[in-house]
Subunit: 213 residues, 4 copies
Amino acid sequence: MGGGRTKRMPRAERERQMLDAAVEVIARHGYTAASMDEIAELAGVSKPLVYLYLNSKDDLFTACIRREAAALTEAVRAAVRPSLPADRQLWDGVQAFFTYTTEHPDGWTVLHLQARTHGPRFAAEADAMRAETVAFVTRLIASAAAEAHGSRDLPDHEIAGLAAALVGAAESLADRTNTTPTATQAATTLMNFAWSGLGNLMSGNRWTPPGGG
Amino acid sequence: MGGGRTKRMPRAERERQMLDAAVEVIARHGYTAASMDEIAELAGVSKPLVYLYLNSKDDLFTACIRREAAALTEAVRAAVRPSLPADRQLWDGVQAFFTYTTEHPDGWTVLHLQARTHGPRFAAEADAMRAETVAFVTRLIASAAAEAHGSRDLPDHEIAGLAAALVGAAESLADRTNTTPTATQAATTLMNFAWSGLGNLMSGNRWTPPGGG
Amino acid sequence: MGGGRTKRMPRAERERQMLDAAVEVIARHGYTAASMDEIAELAGVSKPLVYLYLNSKDDLFTACIRREAAALTEAVRAAVRPSLPADRQLWDGVQAFFTYTTEHPDGWTVLHLQARTHGPRFAAEADAMRAETVAFVTRLIASAAAEAHGSRDLPDHEIAGLAAALVGAAESLADRTNTTPTATQAATTLMNFAWSGLGNLMSGNRWTPPGGG
Amino acid sequence: MGGGRTKRMPRAERERQMLDAAVEVIARHGYTAASMDEIAELAGVSKPLVYLYLNSKDDLFTACIRREAAALTEAVRAAVRPSLPADRQLWDGVQAFFTYTTEHPDGWTVLHLQARTHGPRFAAEADAMRAETVAFVTRLIASAAAEAHGSRDLPDHEIAGLAAALVGAAESLADRTNTTPTATQAATTLMNFAWSGLGNLMSGNRWTPPGGG
DNA sequence: GATGAATGAGATTTCATTCAT
DNA sequence: AATGAATGAAATCTCATTCAT
């Protein structure tokens, strides 16, 4: 008797509210500066309940990272159809990526900036997803190279490097979403920048450093 | 020898030591988690002296950002000779950039990750330098385009977009310095990825999105 | 027995304890020298709880001033019966005033000395109450003058001046409570000093400055 | 060689500047909140010099209190001529008192408010002067009583009480200098309030508490 | 006569976290 | 399922004070 004033709710839904709140607050202030007080208040619950469900601030952050990583990965996966040609797959994936980051800026901030700036434990969580993505892109580039004739000019480790560069460029553009308005526009810029270069490489035209120091 | 702190030094030198310590600690723990205690201890001075010289934690951070930004900018500027062709200038600049970030990983972390994840005031400091760099690269691409024949195919705003993408890709590769060992290697990967694409674009070969949704 | 802190009490009661402790410590050391540590310890709670309930040292001080001002005002108000003649009202009020200040020396110190010596914000809080008191005394003197015949000799602004002087004299005597032991004794001295003079004035006998510089 | 940028000055003058600065800063912020930094800066010297001359913050405060007390005492003493009648002496003294406090508000604040709110050591310093003043006024009232006929009605201890009340009323009015503009005006109000009452008492008209509780 | 360099100690305030109900 | 009451530990920052020159 007494006490409880808030609506009773199934645990799953409450947890979702808490993660939503955490993502928003962490994106706004940064992980360390984000306070459990603010998160609890924004979620509309008391602090002890947050601890009951999510255990600790670190665990809460980890849960956020995992949820956002899964959501982003899923969004891209759903957009790509393996039956289509590699460049089309890439285009679809890139578009889905920018669409997701544009629509979930807080999630992207948590994933890309916050997870990487607060110690190796969280960075590892985020990197797991990133590695998956790079591997996926690597496969895509490799199969595109196989489709072209000059494939033997691109050794595996170089393909991996290019995939990393492409993913990095995408991430950078996603970070600047406020500058580059629409997702499609960002995707087009990236493809122009990257694929034309990649296509060129696959035709055997490498760029080589100039001779004299 | 060892241990005993060297005492009584001129202010300028002490300030430098403090900034060195601050950059290291902030890179290690993140800005918010970095404690003034640890910074002071690493600098070999007492906390009050840090406050006397640098005023506050915020001001100390700002001073770090500015110093690192100036050093990086200067390193790149010194490597580029305007008399050479544009692609050579780009190569030299990119190499200097990776050399600097490889040799000063803490400074790069502070500049690229920490400054951008702890509120708009610090982000603005870092962005000022970034904008300069993008402008510089834009000029480079524009003059390269002028040297080629198909220059009229690339409108200004598109050149700016490509410059942003190139800078972003460079930043991303710099972030992964532990993976891509040497500076020259990173520079080569980036140039292969970027310049070949850019060169292709300048020959009039644009990439266009596929027709069907 | 003794020692062990009583735990888990309703907020209102805890707040009262905190204010009690704050008044005592501030009266003893002065506002600035009073430490939140000492206040919390005397209240039998931890510092964070003091901050949770009272917000800041400034707010705590303000709360003390308001509580003490209200209590003193209320003590005087309760002692005065408007149906009685003006001089009787004054006597009753003065007695209640000295009784209260004698029995709550810490509260009086906070109100009269500390509130006035630590910046305008607190001084304003205390002055609000004082202005009320002066207005009340002014009304009393005015109605006493109306009861006497020579009333027209005392213009309003002069009555206000006399009220201020009377209140000031009372405050001064209250400050020296350790010297003048009982409340009744202090009240008698004040009335002798003040009322006889006022009575004389109301009979038309003014004091006038001597002629020659 | 090196260092010294400030004008050389005889010690006495430097000390005076420091005390001036200390009085001003202490009046503004209160003793505890006043910082040696601000005092030194306002005096135009470095902190070590303040310590060399005045020894410690406590000693500096004590020196301030003593200087201001001596100055106020001297101002009043110089205005009073023992050859004149008692009421004239009182009037001259009261006028000098208000003139001084009006012209030296910081000194008065230090003396009357700050000295009394920061521990018994400083309060004792200020009380010494106050006791002198009360004794002086007591002698004045006593000799006035001797001049009148009804002198035997006023026992010594009662005369002392009245003197304390008069001094207290004067202090109170001095505290509110901003409200009561001119010194002469304040002096007149006080004399009207006090002397008329005292004169009445000396004529044998005592005020007596009413009978019924 | 005067100061730049430096610090030990302690101030207010906030945070993640738990207990009792 | 949910919360009001409570705290240990640590953060930023300031102050009176001294040393070496």
